[in-house]
Amino acid sequence: MSGILAYALHYEGAFNKNSLGGVSEAARLAEELGCEAHAVVIGDVSDDLAATLGNYGVTKVFRCADAPEGLAQPVVDVMAQIMDSEGHDYALFGGGLLGFEIGAGLAARLNAGVTMEVTQVNVADGKLTAERPIHGDSSISTSSYKDRGIIIGRLNAFETAAPSEASAEVEDVTVELSPFSTQATMVTRGEQRGADVDIEGADILVAGGRGLGKPEGFELCEALADALGGAVAATRAVVDAGWYPYSTQIGQTGKTVSPKLYLAAGISGAIQHKVGFQSSENIVAINKDSNAPIFEYSDLGIVGDLNKILPKLTEAVKAKKG
């Protein structure tokens, strides 16, 4: 039997939004291929929660309760065994860090083809092909697979289907983990660093990156955000460096936003950041490097020194708004 197996990441009793996108996409593709889509869940997932994946179109959920969730290699063991015994031709992952690790390990294990950062999957001649933007999104490459295929989505690439009433059958599986898969152990998971700030509801976001030069550079962003009536967001680089709270991070392992205005100050605009805000209505970028990738997709780009521009812009906004 052919089919598609999608991995569903969960945390604190809820599935990851990108995983639900991946599950939905697997179901959509399976229907087009005329096969079934299944999901796999690891660790502590209740019967009820697992069955809800049926709402997104999968007919069966394989649950491996004994394996630890949150690390990639145990999941590789579980998915490789299920794909071999059930004959799935494809594995699919919604956007997410863990999907990259699991997908790559699984491709090595199964000697399968793998494509990452996929933005669209199509059916051609009864097989899947995957589209992936490459080289700073300047070109799109299409992958096809000689044998089995592993498809890893870009963040937010797959839309979550409107949930139906359908329920999935839950089947428990036991998998003997590879010796090396148990050599990594989670000490703490999901630690929040810095203040808990809500930025997802803001209509206007002023985002700061490494180009601010120092943690105090965020004061310029805060003043402008105050004047505009918005909130302040950050890139991963500055969050990892401890300059700003994790809760404000936009992009691959942070939040996804689509405000009316996204004003990026001192941000080069790497893909991993771009995926978190590219659907914003208006994108304004201030950067001193005219070659910064962000200028390729901003609506208004200002090449200049943010230390000079931001304070004056803040004053001008205040004056304008009265």
């Binding site: 990259f100 390990g105 083809g113 799109i140 990594a184 929040q192 990892d240 780009g301 090449v303 200049g304």
Partner: protein, 264 residues
């Protein structure tokens, strides 16, 4: 402790990237440089060596690529590696990420490292994935995008940011770790180190030397077929202002925002 660092030569970020339309592969001519993320991996190895917590016998830079890739190895050595290994063979051309990971794993097997380090991504393509492939072939535990790494006897304690916040993970050696750019600030090589880099041992090997199966690499051994390149849907180019007179620039920004009713 023996540390291998996987490095890669990539097109210089300042140079336009292009695909050769007849082969569907990246056009690898033009300016090349050591992948910036890999400099963080070398620095991480150096910090383990200099940290004094464990004794590091050797740091070995390993790459796979055409003859020009030697420059990446020289750079790696100038940054602190003791010697380097260059896997180069016509049979490897066109290898996909799994085939590349397999080939690198075969080189690493010869060295039996206790720790394999690499940059979390390369500027020219494969993101986040090669470390996990190498680890599966070597049957070693692995973690990617690590931003803090403490080494103690036989063990690593790593931190990284994942979907739900920061994870701390303990890993038994030997292991494969890919590092993010927040892990350290790479040092600049001294002039002496740059001059001396070409004198350090460089082991040039082909596929027979590392005992890899030729049918598992190259275009024929790869399971992904990439082709059919097309341009992405073009977004209308945005307006660009070069800031010369900041007062004038700010006026223009205000007018632009006001036109879109963002100052209401």
């Amino acid at each position: 402790l023996k540390i291998c660092v996987l490095v890669k030569e990539v097109p210089d970020a300042a140079v336009e990237k292009r695909i050769n339309p007849s082969t569907g592969r990246m056009d690898r001519s033009g300016e090349r440089n050591l992948n910036p993320y890999d400099t963080h991996a070398i620095e991480a190895a150096m910090q383990v060596k200099e940290g004094g917590e464990v004794e590091v016998e050797e740091i070995i830079a390993v790459t796979m690529g055409p003859s020009t890739a030697v420059r990446a190895l020289h750079k790696a050595v100038s940054l602190g590696a003791d010697r380097s290994v260059h896997l180069s063979d016509d049979a490897l051309a066109g290898s996909d990420v799994v085939a590349t990971g397999y080939a690198l794993a075969k080189v690493l097997e010869r060295e039996s490292p206790d720790l394999v380090l690499l940059g979390q991504q390369s500027d020219d393509g494969e993101c986040y994935t090669i470390g996990a492939v190498v680890a599966d072939y070597l049957k070693m535990p692995s973690l990617t995008q690590v931003i803090k790494m403490d080494v103690t006897e036989g063990k690593l304690r790593c931190e990284r940011q994942a979907e739900y916040g920061y994870d701390t993970v303990e890993i038994t050696l030997p292991a494969v770790i890919s590092v993010g750019d927040a892990i350290n600030e790479p040092r600049y090589p001294s002039l002496k180190a740059i001059m001396g880099a070409k004198k350090k041992p460089l082991d040039a090997v082909g596929i027979d030397d590392v005992g890899l199966e030729a049918d598992k690499v190259g275009e024929a051994g790869s399971k992904v077929v990439c082709g059919d390149f097309k341009a992405p849907p073009q977004k209308a180019a945005g307006e660009i202002i070069e800031d010369e007179d900041t007062n004038e620039t700010v006026e223009k920004i205000i007018a632009w925002l006001d036109e879109r009713k963002l100052l209401a």
